[in-house]
């Protein structure tokens, strides 16, 4: 697969525009309508057996804000693998597959969060327990397996229905591994009663940073901000060398 340099730039700019807009909308909704953009506020609706439209919108905005940056490379790949005339169609199918998986996962998580909310445990116990679960998942071999699979790009069909199916399935598969990797932190976000924006931002940095890390053997280890730390250390090292020279 060969990338078109101009299309690479276009994709990056478009995705960054989408994620910026999503952050602005998340922020404004949380400012204008207290309770919205706080999935905790939707627990009552969920407990009545239906995920409200508002909850769906908020969840979608969270996804767009937090996950869009990690889709830059897969989208570039889908477009580079497709005939130029079909690039937009393939991109939309990829995004549809990815989003469908996350919307389904989101519904399950909202239901789980609602169930936990009515479990009788205090907020601190719920959040503390799920923080430990998220930390354990972060260090687990299963998390590494999911992260590794997030990097997998496979050859897509170029023509006809097979091309459409491949783009959709590729998006859904990316969604499955992405949800597998990030579910614990996302669920923790749903359990918080305040500080969502800050927690979302921190989680976004973690997700993006760990996605930049090399695939690695599946084992127990701490992972997450290593790449971000190394980028900072690398820049410092290069500056020091430049000054020394």
């Amino acid at each position: 697969m060969i990338y078109d340099d101009r299309d690479r730039v276009r994709v990056r700019n478009a995705v960054l525009a989408v994620t910026t807009l999503a952050w602005v909308l998340v922020w404004t909704r949380s400012m204008r309508i207290p309770g919205l953009s706080d999935p905790h506020a939707h627990h009552h609706a969920i407990s009545r057996g239906a995920v409200s439209a508002s909850a769906a919108v908020d969840w979608m905005l969270m996804l767009a804000a937090m996950m869009a940056p990690v889709l830059i490379q897969p989208i570039r790949f889908v477009r580079g693998s497709s005939l130029a005339l079909h690039r937009t169609r393939s991109t939309l199918l990829f995004v549809a597959g990815y989003t469908a998986v996350w919307m389904f996962a989101g519904a399950l998580m909202l239901l789980l969060a609602a169930a936990l909310g009515s479990s009788g445990f205090s907020l601190y116990v719920r959040v503390g327990a799920f923080f430990l679960i998220a930390l354990t998942w972060q260090c687990s071999p299963a998390k590494q397996a999911c992260l590794n699979r997030c990097h997998v790009l496979w050859a897509l069909a170029a023509f006809g229905r097979a091309a459409d199916t491949d783009a959709l399935v590729f998006g859904a598969t990316q969604g499955v591994w992405c949800a597998g990797s990030c579910w614990a932190w996302m669920l923790l976000l749903l359990l918080l009663s305040s500080g969502h924006i800050v927690a979302m931002a921190a989680t976004t940095v973690l997700i993006f940073s760990e996605r930049l890390d090399d695939p690695a053997p599946v084992s127990w280890r701490w992972r997450g901000l290593g790449r971000a730390r190394r980028i900072v250390a690398g820049r410092v090292m290069v500056r020091k060398r430049a000054r020394a020279a």
Binding site: I2, D4, D5, H151, V152, A155, A158, P217, I231
Partner: protein, 536 residues
């Protein structure tokens, strides 16, 4: 004036009369006498390039280091601490624009350690690593004889001799199949690979122009992301990868020569002479004032600035050397040079192509060169994965009519001061376990015909150096395998001239250099065709 001069290994007929080779053997022996976990040992340096000896990488059979046949006897213990492994081992940069600078630093570090040992043995203080210029005159495509003798002149075992070095025809005749090499050693029927120095005609380090097919002389821009499967740079693909695979060769369906696999290659002393020649070719390319290395800070600062592993080498005296591409950007920054940095004639590929198309001249060649940059689109692809077994396999690549017509149009109007599209064949996600394989790709070979009778339909030959490591599901490539780009513009030009381009299908035949067993599990997930040219 550089202190050290790397000279031709074929001086004094490539025997131990060549003192550079004699002292190289003395230095290699001293390094081989050290333990695996000693940063000054031969084995440690080999593992810096790549290894199959740590628990994460040892497959428990060949190519595990404990299963290498014959000599040298490669130690598998004691392993360094996991932290030392993490810092130093498995650093090699391939399919990347960092391929030339990383290997330059690697050679400098090994050479420093060898020189230290050579001086200890009362050898010359200005000793420098020789290079094997397989494009040299006479029989210099043959491996220098000092590497094929089992014993040194004094009767002691020759540390330059390696059992697992089988050569391109798997008959222990080790040579590089350059055009001259193939004259001396006529190839068997399935063998179509020829090693060339045509990359020296490229004018762009990364990217393309009228004289440089993608991904460029030095390699593709590789950045933050790891899921992508990048092709090797033009220097890396030919002659580097081809020489590795042909010199290593194969002795069975499961065992191949050390040189054929990046996790074994640096165990073979010929590795460093091969890489000295690759480094020399980079310097020769740079000696043309219009051939420049990247000025992009992302290249100059190296991968460490982007949070990737830093380039770090052990140096004599238990020191270490951290370096970035900027430190090894040209020979003038280094304290060594090469005996021969003579430029080879640069072929003007665009003029050649236009001439082939019957176009006498281009009014403004510069403008024509500019127009072929950076617009790339898919023309077509085959339907699904193909398995390479036995004597080969074929597939049909379906072309999109509209995009194919764009290519045809570019060829038709090429006379109107516009370079024609460049057309590439892309083998995507090539996976398997047998690195010592070269694949020759033919386009529209007549049904039932002998590929050897149609050299004009040969798109190119690619070597599967690094295949096994790239195919590991939890390895750095997450099982994505290898990717290969072949410029097939010459074949497309001929189709255009023969009025045969009005087709929506191309037949692609892949012929391995030796029969491929089922064990090798070589698959190609997609065969695609791309055009590169102005947006239309």
């Amino acid at each position: 004036m550089a202190t050290y001069t790397r000279a031709n290994a074929w001086n004094n007929r490539g025997t131990f009369d060549n003192k550079d080779l004699y002292w190289y053997a003395i230095g290699v022996r001293a390094m081989m006498d050290r333990a695996l976990n000693d940063p000054a040992s031969w084995w440690f340096f080999a593992a810096i390039h790549g290894e199959y000896v740590t628990p994460d990488n040892d497959p428990g059979k060949f190519p595990g280091w404990g299963y290498i046949p014959g000599v040298p006897k490669v130690p598998t213990t004691p392993l360094p601490t996991p932290n030392v492994v993490k810092i130093y081992w498995n650093q090699c940069q391939h399919q990347s624009w960092f391929f030339p600078p990383w290997h330059r630093g690697y050679l400098v570090a090994l050479e420093a350690q060898l020189r230290e040992d050579i001086v200890q043995a009362k050898g010359p203080t200005n000793w420098a690593l020789p290079y094997w210029d397989y494009f040299g005159p006479g029989d210099e495509f043959d491996i220098p004889p000092a590497f094929t003798q089992q014993n040194m002149p004094n009767g002691s075992p020759n540390p330059l001799f390696v059992t697992a070095r089988y050569g391109p025809y798997a008959n222990n005749i080790v040579f590089d199949p350059t055009a001259m090499g193939l004259k001396k050693y006529p190839p068997p029927p399935n063998f179509h690979g020829v090693v060339t120095e045509k990359c020296l005609s490229n004018s762009v380090y990364t990217g393309s122009d009228s004289n440089t097919p993608l991904p460029g002389f030095g390699g593709p821009l590789t950045g933050f992301w790891h899921g992508d499967v990048y092709p090797s740079g033009n220097l890396e693909q030919d002659p580097h990868n081809l020489t590795h695979v042909f010199v290593g060769g194969s002795v069975s369906d499961t065992v191949y020569g050390l040189m054929s696999d990046p996790g074994l290659a640096a165990l073979d002393p010929i590795f460093y002479l091969h890489h000295a020649n690759i480094d020399r070719m980079w310097a020769v390319w740079n000696s043309n004032s219009s051939h420049n290395n990247p000025s992009d800070p992302n290249w100059l600062k190296g991968p460490a600035a982007s949070g990737e592993r830093e380039f770090i080498m052990p140096m004599p005296g238990k020191k270490s050397w951290r370096y970035i591409p900027k430190d090894v950007n040209s020979l003038s920054q280094m304290d060594y040079t090469y005996e021969n940095l003579k430029q080879v004639p640069v072929v003007d590929l665009l003029a050649l192509r236009l001439s082939r198309l019957g176009i006498r001249a281009v009014a403004t060649p510069g403008a024509a060169a500019e127009s072929v940059r950076n617009s790339v689109e898919l023309v077509g692809a085959n339907d699904g994965p193909m398995s390479i077994k036995g004597s080969g396999a074929s597939t049909t690549v379906r072309l999109d009519t509209e995009v194919r017509q764009k290519v045809a149009h570019s060829l038709s109007v090429a006379a109107e001061n516009s370079a024609p599209d460049r057309v590439y064949l892309n083998l995507e996600n090539v996976r398997g376990t047998h690195d010592a394989t070269a694949l020759s790709i033919f386009i529209n070979l007549p049904e039932g015909s002998n590929p050897g009778d149609h050299p004009d339909l040969l798109a190119g030959t690619v070597a599967l150096f690094g295949l096994r490591r790239a195919s590991l599901a939890d390895g750095k490539h997450v099982g994505g395998g290898l990717s290969f780009l072949l410029d097939i513009s010459a074949i497309v030009d001929r189709m255009h001239l023969d009025n045969a381009l009005n087709t929506d299908n191309l037949r692609v035949m892949i012929v391995p250099n030796r029969p491929v067993s089922d064990n090798a599990q070589i698959t190609v997930e997609r065969v695609s065709i791309y055009r590169e040219g102005p947006k239309r």
